[in-house]
């Protein structure tokens, strides 16, 4: 910190300058006037150019464990989806309930939540929503309840695991929590919340849904097996996914970090998928896969990491942590409750990724006040549940929400902020309240 002070632009106070830079950057991110990856990178580079961080410190601030996990999982998904397994799953589950619309509504929400626990939320809805639209068109039922329930289900399911939702990837990566830590501490309450969600959707929409036997026969005629386009790839991808999950569960024993596991899975699947193909075809398929990596997300994360390293370096986060502690009177339960509800409400209105990325070092620096790293565990669950579930509150709360709204609008289904929020916000509050009861009962 002292080394940086002397080299800051015009001899300005580093604390003041870095705070202004962060507020302006976050302000522009929230305003959505500029692509978020552009503004995050710009803010990050200004941190370095203003002398608040050296390049080395900036690189040090980037959490490559998180980046590797994100990139690795993106590669795995991009290869896996080609075999058609996700379409198969959606059709199969719809036929399992005899193409009864209320049953499909519940089934697809559950499938979305399950897939979302293993994959990123946006990826999940991109895979499930198009098939849903084909099913609802065939059944001639209103697709809105289906899309609505899948948005919420994707954010709920994602909360259950380390790899399900970006806030968890961030928390897991930076705090050093394992896949099992998340599964053991969060999955139980997520199962309860998912059941509540499926029941609420049934009461609001499902119970009045109707479709004729002829239309249901049309969905029953869908041939799920035909959705599988590449059996060899299906076997390989299933094998790699199983290995990756096994490695996540046994990460502690194996001494592996999640970034390594994600990247190793990606490398293995790339190898298996390309083995025996001629060189020309290999480079073509590899380029295609790499192009599907979401660089906007990756570079957004890189930029955020550097911005946060800047404000952390200047001492802002320690200051904020002290303020938060003072506000809650140093009471552990009050701190947890504040984190849960503040995360939920803020995540409903603004992008939860910058919020969580800022909260992590902030909570870390409260460590000493509460007696060390392990004592902080419940606070991480408060942050995760608040930030992930809060994203359901409004249409702009999480990227999956906006992605679904975009697909819906393109398909002529109105998906407005107001209609969404009117039902989603109270549901979100219910889910957070359930989390509150769970956390209070289990940890405080």
């Amino acid at each position: 910190m002292h080394a940086a002070t002397s080299s800051v632009l015009f001899g300005l106070d580093p604390l003041w300058l870095s705070t202004v830079l962060m507020i302006v950057t976050y302000g522009v991110i929230i305003s959505e006037k500029l692509n978020r990856s552009i503004i995050a990178l710009l803010g990050a580079m200004l941190m370095v150019m203003f002398g608040l961080l050296t390049q080395e410190q900036a690189v040090g601030g980037v959490d490559f464990n998180t980046i590797a996990l994100l990139v690795g999982m993106m590669i795995i998904v991009s290869i896996t989806r080609k075999c058609g397994i996700f379409e198969f799953l959606a059709i199969w589950s719809a036929k399992l309930v005899k193409a009864n619309p209320a049953g499909i509504l519940a089934m697809l929400a559950i499938v979305t939540a399950l897939v979302s626990a293993l994959l990123d939320n946006v990826t999940t809805v991109l895979l499930v929503v198009p098939v849903t639209l084909i099913i609802t068109e065939a059944l001639k039922v209103n697709p809105y309840p289906f899309l609505f329930s899948q948005v919420l289900a994707s954010n709920i399911g994602g909360t259950a695991t380390l790899i399900g939702d970006p806030p968890n990837i961030l928390i897991g990566g930076q705090v050093g929590l394992s896949f099992n830590d998340f599964a053991i501490n969060l999955a139980p309450v997520i199962v309860v919340i998912l059941i509540v969600h499926v029941l609420s959707i049934h009461l609001i929409w499902g119970r009045c849904m109707q479709s004729s036997p002829e239309l249901r026969a049309r969905v029953m005629a869908f041939d799920a097996v035909q959705a599988i386009t590449d059996r060899r790839l299906l076997r390989l991808a299933s094998l790699v996914l199983a290995l990756v999950m096994l490695a996540f569960v046994m990460a502690r024993t194996l001494g592996l970090e999640s970034g390594t596991i994600g990247m190793a899975g990606a490398a293995l699947l790339l190898l298996l998928d390309n083995l025996g193909k001629p060189a020309e075809q290999q480079s073509e398929s590899v380029v295609k896969v790499y192009n599907e990596i979401e660089w906007v997300t990756i570079l957004f994360f890189v930029g955020l990491f550097i911005i946060i390293a800047g404000v952390e370096h200047a001492g802002l986060l320690r200051l904020l942590a002290d303020q938060l502690l003072a506000a809650t009177g140093g009471d552990f339960t009050a701190t947890g409750v504040s984190i849960l509800w503040a995360s939920a409400v803020l995540s409903a209105i603004v992008d939860n990724i910058p919020f969580v990325a800022t909260m992590i070092p902030l909570i870390k620096s409260m460590g000493p006040a509460f007696g060390g790293g392990d004592a902080l565990l419940p606070l991480w669950w408060c942050l995760s549940l608040g930030a992930c579930l809060g994203g359901n509150g409004t249409l702009i709360g999480a990227s999956a929400n906006l992605t679904v709204a975009g697909i819906a609008e393109r398909n002529g289904i109105p998906f407005s902020f107001a209609t969404y929020t009117k039902i989603a916000f109270p549901l979100m509050l219910t889910h957070v309240a359930i989390s509150q009861v769970y956390l209070w009962w289990r940890y405080f």
Binding site: V77, S78, R81, G84, E87, F88, I91, T123, L126, L127, V129, P130, V131, L133, I134, E137, A138, R218, A221, F222, D223, A224, V225, Q226, A227, T229, E292, T403, G406, I407, R410, N411, G412
Partner: protein, 160 residues
């Protein structure tokens, strides 16, 4: 660079086999297209003002589940392969029946490039190469002809 007049669209273009009016129905357009065996039809007002093009791919798309052709280039993951769909002839007919009485102006393809009569043969070739079969030639907002793959091949192949 000055181009020779015979390599400009003005000299290559032909009369369109038929011109639709914006208020013509989709069913009428389909029948005309099938009868004439043309890949696309231009649409113009009665006074000749160019409105747009209706390609046959639009008719094919409208007979399918909408999500199959509403692809987002931003999200390649959302592409459905659709191999599981088992729609019958009646299902496809039903979808097309749903839009049969729509005016053609509602289903224009906004992406069809428009040629100026002064555009060069090479310019038209670049579009034809990218799977466009027929393109409108428009001067001062008025449709004055079309350049089709046949017009161009005839010129290059010296077909009389």
């Amino acid at each position: 660079m000055k181009h020779q007049p015979e390599s400009l669209c003005r000299s290559i273009m032909s009369e369109p086999p038929a011109v639709l009016q914006p208020t013509d129905t989709m069913l009428f357009a389909l029948r005309t297209m099938v009868a004439q065996r043309v890949p696309a039809l231009p649409i113009a007002e009665r006074d000749g003002r160019y409105v747009g093009m209706l390609p046959r791919s639009r008719l094919i798309a409208l007979a399918m589940p909408r999500v199959l052709w509403q692809e987002s280039t931003q999200h390649p993951l959302s592409r459905v392969q659709g191999g599981f769909i088992q729609d019958s002839l009646a299902d496809l007919q039903e979808r097309l029946d749903g839009v049969a009485n729509d005016p053609v102006s509602r289903h224009l393809d906004p992406e069809v490039p428009v040629l100026s009569p002064e555009a060069t043969l090479m310019h038209a070739m670049l579009f034809l190469h990218r799977q466009r079969n027929i393109m409108p030639v428009v001067e001062n907002g008025k449709l004055i002809g079309v350049v089709s793959v046949w017009d161009v091949l005839a010129r290059i192949g010296r077909v009389r």
